[in-house]
């Protein structure tokens, strides 16, 4: 039976790919398709809440909108640097590839830092979830505290959607770090974990969220020590697909969550 599928006199032992590309890339595309359904479900849940709630809040002042716009610019620029890294790897320019990958990681880190600041500010102003610890010494009768009480779906969908995206960006930076620096990236990751853990107060969600970096360091160490390899242009291209997807998802979160909830004075 197998002879009918792969003839004995075939020039290669493998049939040509159905999709005209290598299996690693097809695997990443399949993962991205499934992940887009995860984000699709979260975006639809947000939209459902918005349609079905008459007094849906529009609490974002221009400061938040400016911050989110800068975050968007960071992500778009990171996509440009990522595609230049892929190009450099395809042209076999390892130095340029490394520099563009580091630039992409820098832009991604900038996005995470700005997003973290935004979250911290919103939580301090009262937009919170029941599972977040109370911020000591902060005013809880503000506009955002009112939003959390009257329309709890807003905070749930906002933190759920943007938190899931922030997690994806963080893991994307780790992924690029592994492709760019391999084992040298592990101590850097551990330092980032320690800084993020110790520099954030115990009531901040990032104090515990920082442990994602520790988990990532453990997983990456296992992979890098058990299966050491030289990451080639196909690995950079596949990592790029993931990174562009993270950027793509933000193109929908930014207008739906921020721009449609802007406070127009």
């Amino acid at each position: 039976m197998a002879d009918h599928v792969v003839p004995q006199d075939a020039p290669s032992i493998y049939e040509p790919s159905l999709f005209g590309t290598y299996s690693k890339k097809i695997g990443m595309w399949l993962f991205l398709l499934s992940d887009s359904l995860t984000f699709g479900a979260l975006l639809y849940a947000y939209s459902y809440g918005r349609i079905s709630t008459t007094n849906w809040p529009t609490p974002f002042h221009s400061e938040s909108i400016v911050n989110a716009t800068i975050m968007t610019a960071f992500l778009l620029t990171s996509s440009l640097t990522m595609v230049l890294a892929v190009r450099a790897s395809a042209d076999r320019q390892p130095k340029a590839q490394l520099l563009w990958l580091l630039a992409t990681m820098l832009c991604g880190t900038g996005f995470i830092v700005l997003h973290g600041r935004e979250w911290t500010k919103l939580i301090a102003e009262g937009l919170t979830l029941p599972l977040f610890p109370a911020v000591p010494g902060h005013e809880t009768a503000s506009e955002f505290a009112n939003v959390s009480k009257t329309v709890p779906q807003f905070a749930s969908t906002f933190f759920g959607l943007t938190g899931m995206h922030m997690l994806h960006v963080t893991l994307g930076v780790v992924y690029l770090g592994v492709v760019a620096l391999r084992r040298k990236f592990i101590p850097i990751l551990l330092v980032c974990w320690l800084v993020a853990w110790l520099a954030t107060p115990s009531y901040s969600p990032f104090h515990y969220g920082a442990h994602v970096l520790l988990a990532a360091a453990v997983v990456c160490s296992v992979i890098l020590w058990l299966k050491p390899k030289v990451y080639d242009s196909s690995d950079v291209e596949v990592a790029g697909l993931y990174w562009h997807f993270v950027d793509l998802v933000w193109m929908f979160i930014f207008p739906l969550v921020y721009l449609m909830s802007a406070k127009i004075l």
Partner: protein, 111 residues
């Protein structure tokens, strides 16, 4: 690198010959300009449904540019393009089945 890795790296090099650096900068510029338009429209006090339509239209164009040029799908074989995009659009469209229920809650909510 083993021979398979070398062969794949060569395939990546050939596939990326379609791209030129100015093309990447044009796409990046277009994405930034569309983002600026979106932010500008936010402060024009438009009717929400109209604004949502324009914002989602711009977001779809931006997504198309990212998928086509940055994710390289424009230069893949047509079988890959059609299968991935049709599967994605169908699944996302099916999720819209929940929206009539959201409208029902709005119009028939318990007072």
């Amino acid at each position: 690198m083993d021979p398979v890795q070398i062969a794949i790296a060569e395939r990546v090099r050939v596939q990326h010959q379609h791209h030129t650096k100015p093309q990447f900068f044009w796409v990046w510029g277009a994405l930034l300009v569309m983002t600026a338009i979106e932010v500008y429209l936010t402060y024009q006090n438009m009717e929400p449904v109209r604004m949502l339509t324009i914002l989602m239209g711009l977001s779809l164009i931006k997504a198309g540019l990212i998928i086509a040029y940055f994710m390289h799908l424009k230069f893949e074989v047509s079988r890959m393009k059609w299968l991935t995009m049709c599967a994605l659009v169908t699944c996302l469209a099916l999720m819209m089945i929940f929206f009539p229920d959201a409208v029902r809650i709005l119009t028939m909510a318990v007072k």
